[in-house]
């Protein structure tokens, strides 16, 4: 029994302080390294201090903390009563973004709201978790029904397809493990899940093989840049793929194109690798300062590269440890939840965060293909910060209203 924060009903501390400490740690790291990543440009162009990125990040953190606290004021049951409404709203906003969204490099992911941008997919993930948890917290026996099973899959497929259409492969991808793990944790018969996985896996494998190796006549139509991303990840030669009979000059052009496309990953790798054990020091990273890391990405998608370059292996492990604390305390919260709803909500949040962490850090060290998935709490960006903090708020909420011993 913990003596800190003893309440009248003697349940132990109301907040999971370990998790909160880790969250605060990550927030501090985020501000420090967003500063490092952006100060090179912003100081140079003399942006006034309250418009600089690190300051904006602090504002977002404050807003996020308030939202998280607000989430914690009511029992999560009250929240999930609105889950289907939230789900519907976010699906609507996903459709909206496809229509009126701002097009950035051919992708429509944000809705411009004047002084800030709103990214529906971040909130759609949370709404999905809540709706799915609410849906699956029915009696376990009902889950044997295939109709329920497919309804649940449908609930996952809808936002998945809408997000894919933006196109935002990464955000769509994280929905899949989240949904599937929630199905598993709810008690769906394992064979349903395994069969689905098997079929999907086979399809994915065939699809990949087809995209990468089929001769030009039989290729499925995909956006060219998506194909290129896959080629880069799997290390296939552009020249062989796009123009097997091309002349020498054409081949060279493809090589250049390939070089340019793999630029981000290559630079991220160099940044991470050259950090060594202890890194080069805060704000001393050369890949950062010299501009080799992608300007547009180094403070969000590639923020990990900046941390890895400047604080080395030690820094990377510290970051991973902080995430580990959040994830495992989340699992503990799931175990101590009062009911299946709470357990499912916690499991969903944990899987969501884990997927983000795994894909993003994996992307920085070329273990995963490049997808635009932010690193929760560390990446710069209002929607990501808000989404992550609200998710953490939900975890704390479940913790607060947990089983009384």
């Amino acid at each position: 029994m913990n003596a800190i924060g003893l309440q009248l009903n003697d349940r132990g501390p109301r907040m999971d302080y370990l998790q909160i400490l880790s969250i605060l740690g990550l927030m501090a790291i985020s501000v420090a390294f967003v500063y490092s990543a952006t100060s090179v440009n912003e100081l140079a162009s003399e942006v006034v201090w309250f418009k600089q990125s690190y300051f904006k990040q602090i504002i977002w953190f404050s807003i996020g903390l308030s939202a998280a606290s607000a989430v914690c004021t009511v029992d999560y049951h009250s929240l999930t009563r609105w889950s289907m409404v939230a789900y519907g709203l976010t699906v609507a906003s996903l459709v909206l973004v496809l229509v009126v969204g701002r097009s950035v490099y051919g992708a429509k992911r944000w809705i411009d709201l004047g002084s800030f941008q709103f990214q529906p997919s971040e909130f759609a993930k949370l709404a999905f978790i809540m709706a799915q948890a609410s849906f699956l917290s029915r009696p376990i026996d009902e889950l044997r029904s295939t109709r329920i099973f497919w309804k649940s899959i449908g609930m996952m497929a809808l936002p998945f397809l809408l997000i894919m259409k933006e196109p935002d492969l990464g955000s769509a991808l994280v929905l899949l493990p989240t949904g599937l793990v929630m199905l598993y944790a709810a008690g769906t018969p394992r064979r349903y899940i395994l069969q689905l996985l098997g079929a999907a896996g086979l399809l994915a494998f065939l699809f990949m093989a087809e995209v990468l190796y089929a001769p030009p006549k039989f290729r499925i139509h995909m956006q060219e840049y998506q194909v290129r991303r896959l080629l880069v990840y799997f290390g296939r030669n552009y020249a062989d793929y796009f123009g097997p009979n091309a002349a020498e000059g054409e081949r060279k052009k493809f090589q250049e194109q390939q070089f340019n496309d793999s630029h981000n990953v290559r630079q991220a790798l160099i940044a991470v690798g050259s950090g060594g054990l202890l890194g080069k020091g805060w704000r001393q990273g050369q890949q950062n300062a010299l501009g080799f890391l992608p300007q547009a990405g180094k403070h969000n998608d590639f923020i990990f590269s900046v941390i890895a370059e400047e604080k080395g292996f030690v820094g990377s492990v510290v970051v991973i440890t902080l995430y580990a604390v959040i994830l495992f305390s989340g699992i503990r919260i799931a175990g101590q939840a009062r009911d299946r709803l709470g357990k499912l909500l916690a499991v969903g949040v944990v899987t969501l965060i884990f997927s983000h962490v795994f894909i993003n850090i994996g992307m920085n060290i070329r273990m995963m293909p490049v997808t635009g998935v932010p690193l929760p709490l560390l990446s710069y960006g209002g929607s990501s910060v808000l989404g992550s903090l609200i998710a953490m708020g939900i975890l704390q909420n479940i913790h607060m209203y947990r089983k009384a011993y």
Partner: protein, 678 residues
């Protein structure tokens, strides 16, 4: 512990989830271990390769000095104003952002216009027409950069209060190929411009001064052929193995001492590292290996004598073509080597725009033959000065009596050919014949039995027809018959006659004539002539002799009697009023000399306007072969040896006398200072 607690839970699903999360995080840590610890070196190298450029820095060139250490070639700082694009990159970006915004507005307006025209929305294909393409953006970028650079140049112009040209093409090329290096805007600015730039420079972005070391020849065209000049060349020298991204301008010695001793003069190039950012702009730099200054080359030349020789040579006639060699008779050191016409060495590297066109034309003119070092690289018939050798041959063989009188009709018939004479008809003994340079006398002598063979033998001892190695690759060996040719049936009396008066099958260079005269002066020692005394380090230490002093190549093996008679005759040439060389006489020294005029054939017949005139001499005469100086002068198309070349020698002997006085004073000084030390 938190993690292991979760793994030991009762709930199998949570256990599974905890396991997956743990496994995932361990995979990430493993990957990071591989990338950050095991492959760290590899990535650090990649970082350096993409962000570091190596630049080769040429060393400061060594100096060329005369025998007393006076500078003949050195380096001087020149100031250039350069454009440093990394300082302007902000301006580039700002200008570009502006232009792109404007362009997009224009495109949007055009789209709206078209939509109005058609009355409907545009299709994707039609939209493409109004798209801002990559290539448009690239063109815009180039234009913006050029504009910013141009305006920076204009700014500079205003501050210096003089027009500064902006070469757009050069800017583009330099930016594309080597933006890490500064782009030159104004080269070699004057002190006034330097002052103006410095006082205004506080707020000029992107422009800065660079100090460069430039080759400078303080005496312009003095000894131009001997010293040589430089051309642009950035290649690695033979023993350099470095591979560089960029090379700063470097030079290669061409001809002359600059060329022959280029390896010693140029030193060792240095290296510096420049850190660049992803756009290729320079961020910072550090010197990896400093360059090492080249060694100095000390010549045997005496600046005062060289100056006197060139002044006298250029004074002798208008547009003179010829050469002068002044040699130390006792060891073969060359005190002066002059060749006319000459050119300004400084203009080779830094042409004067006012005279560049004219000088370039002159440089290539075959007729003028500006580039040839006439002291070493031109074939001349020696003419009458070769009679010295004929005389020696005759005297050695006792083939004639020097006191005997020979009657000349002013010409001589050799076979069917009539050979004329500059000396008039009359009676000649040996002294007079030499002094007045009588052709019939010497042709007659040359035709005596055995004389021809002895002449050839002496010529071989003097190594005529062979190089003296004074300037490798810039010397001609001349022509001289060898015994086989002379004994063959092809050799006729006419050839012997010609040879006896220094025409026909004989060509020499002024250097060879100097060696010959020295051998006559010093009692028969034929020296290897020397123009480089030693090579030493730039601080004066570690001098190494390039060639030994007084290196004897051969001996004439001629008797004292021969020398005595010859010397007397040569003295008469200068001292007596009848002597053709009397213009060379100076007060205080006895000068012994011989004039010469050689006919030159052009297109098959004799061209009187192109005859080679000569004067060879030595002084001050002493009966014990201790004369110190040899002066040889030749002028193409001169009036005569006595009228054109002897006055040159006169001026030079005056300068040599001053030199002797100076050397004596120095010796006295050093002796007295030693004495006071004691």
């Amino acid at each position: 512990m938190l993690i292991f607690d979760e793994l030991r839970k009762d709930d199998p699903q949570l256990r599974f989830i905890a396991g997956v999360v743990l496994l995932g995080l361990l995979i990430l840590v493993g990957g990071l271990w591989w990338v950050q610890l095991i492959s760290s070196r590899h990535f650090q190298e990649k970082l350096e390769t993409q962000s570091i450029r190596t630049i080769r820095i040429p060393a400061i060139r060594g100096k060329i000095l005369d025998r007393e250490g006076r500078v003949l070639a050195e380096n001087r700082p020149t100031y250039n104003i350069n454009l440093y694009v990394e300082g302007l990159s902000k301006n580039f970006q700002a200008a570009y952002a502006e232009r792109v915004k404007q362009l997009k507005k224009i495109m949007a307006a055009k789209r709206a216009e078209r939509r109005q025209q058609l009355g409907r929305d545009l299709t994707k294909l039609e939209l493409k027409e109004f798209a801002v393409t990559e290539s448009m953006k690239n063109t815009l970028q180039r234009e913006c950069r050029t504009e910013v650079a141009r305006s920076a140049t204009a700014d500079l112009s205003a501050r210096l209060q003089q027009p500064v040209a902006f070469d757009e093409k050069k800017f583009q090329t330099k930016f594309d190929k080597a933006r890490v290096l500064p782009i030159p805007v104004l080269d070699n600015i004057s002190p006034a411009q330097l002052a103006r730039f410095e006082e205004q420079s506080a707020s000029i972005p992107g422009l800065d001064l660079e100090v460069q070391s430039t080759r400078y020849y303080p005496h312009g065209n003095l000894g131009a052929h001997l010293i040589g000049y430089l051309v642009h060349n950035n290649d690695n020298t033979e023993d350099e193995t470095g591979d560089y991204n960029y090379r700063l301008a470097d030079y290669l010695g061409q001809v002359g001492i600059e060329g022959i001793f280029d390896k010693e003069l140029r030193g060792t190039a240095g290296q510096k590292f420049v850190v660049v950012n992803y756009l290729g702009y320079r961020q910072s730099e550090s010197v990896f290996a400093p360059s090492q200054t080249g060694q100095n080359v000390v010549l045997t030349i005496d600046y005062d004598i060289q100056r006197a020789a060139e002044t006298a040579l250029f004074k002798s006639q208008a547009n003179v073509k010829g050469a002068v060699v002044v040699m130390d008779a006792q060891n073969g050191d060359i005190l002066a080597m002059a060749s006319a016409p000459s050119f300004d060495l400084n203009h080779r590297i830094h042409p004067d725009p006012a005279t560049k066109a004219a000088e370039d034309q002159r440089w290539l003119d075959e007729d003028i033959g500006l580039q040839r070092n006439r002291a070493t690289y031109e074939n001349y018939h020696p003419g009458s000065i070769f009679k010295i050798v004929v005389a020696m041959a005759g005297l050695e063989l006792h083939a004639f009596d020097p006191k005997a009188v020979f009657h000349s009709d002013g010409y001589i018939m050799v076979g069917k050919r009539k050979i004329g004479d500059t000396a008039h008809a009359g009676d000649f003994d040996f002294d007079r014949a030499l002094a007045k340079s009588s052709n019939p006398y010497f042709i007659n002598l040359g035709l005596q039995p055995g004389v021809l063979e002895k002449v050839v033998n002496l010529g071989q001892k003097l190594h005529l027809g062979e190089r003296t190695d004074i300037m490798p690759a810039q010397e001609t060996r001349g022509n001289f018959p060898n015994p086989r040719i002379v004994e063959s049936d092809a050799w006729r009396d006419g050839d012997t006659a010609n040879l006896s008066i220094g025409q026909g099958y004989i060509d020499v260079t002024p250097i060879q004539m100097a060696v010959m005269t020295a051998a006559v002066a010093n009692g028969g020692k034929v020296f290897w002539p020397r123009v480089v005394a030693r090579v030493e380090n730039s601080d004066g230490s570690g001098g190494m002799e390039a060639k030994p002093v007084g290196h004897i190549r051969d001996y004439l093996g001629v008797s004292a009697r021969t020398f005595r008679i010859l010397h007397e005759a040569m003295l008469k040439d200068t001292e007596s009023k009848e002597g053709t060389g009397h213009a060379a006489a100076v007060a205080g020294w006895r000068v012994a000399g011989k004039t010469g005029t050689a006919q030159v054939e052009k297109n098959g017949h004799v061209d009187k306007s192109a005859q080679n005139t000569w004067f060879v001499s030595f002084a001050p005469y002493t009966p014990d072969y201790k004369a110190k100086y040899v002066v040889v002068a030749t002028v193409e198309g001169g009036v005569s040896g006595g009228a054109t070349c002897a006055p040159i020698a006169h001026d030079i002997y005056l300068a040599l006398q001053e030199r002797e006085t100076r050397l004596e004073q120095q010796q006295v000084k050093s002796r007295t200072s030693l004495a006071t030390l004691k």
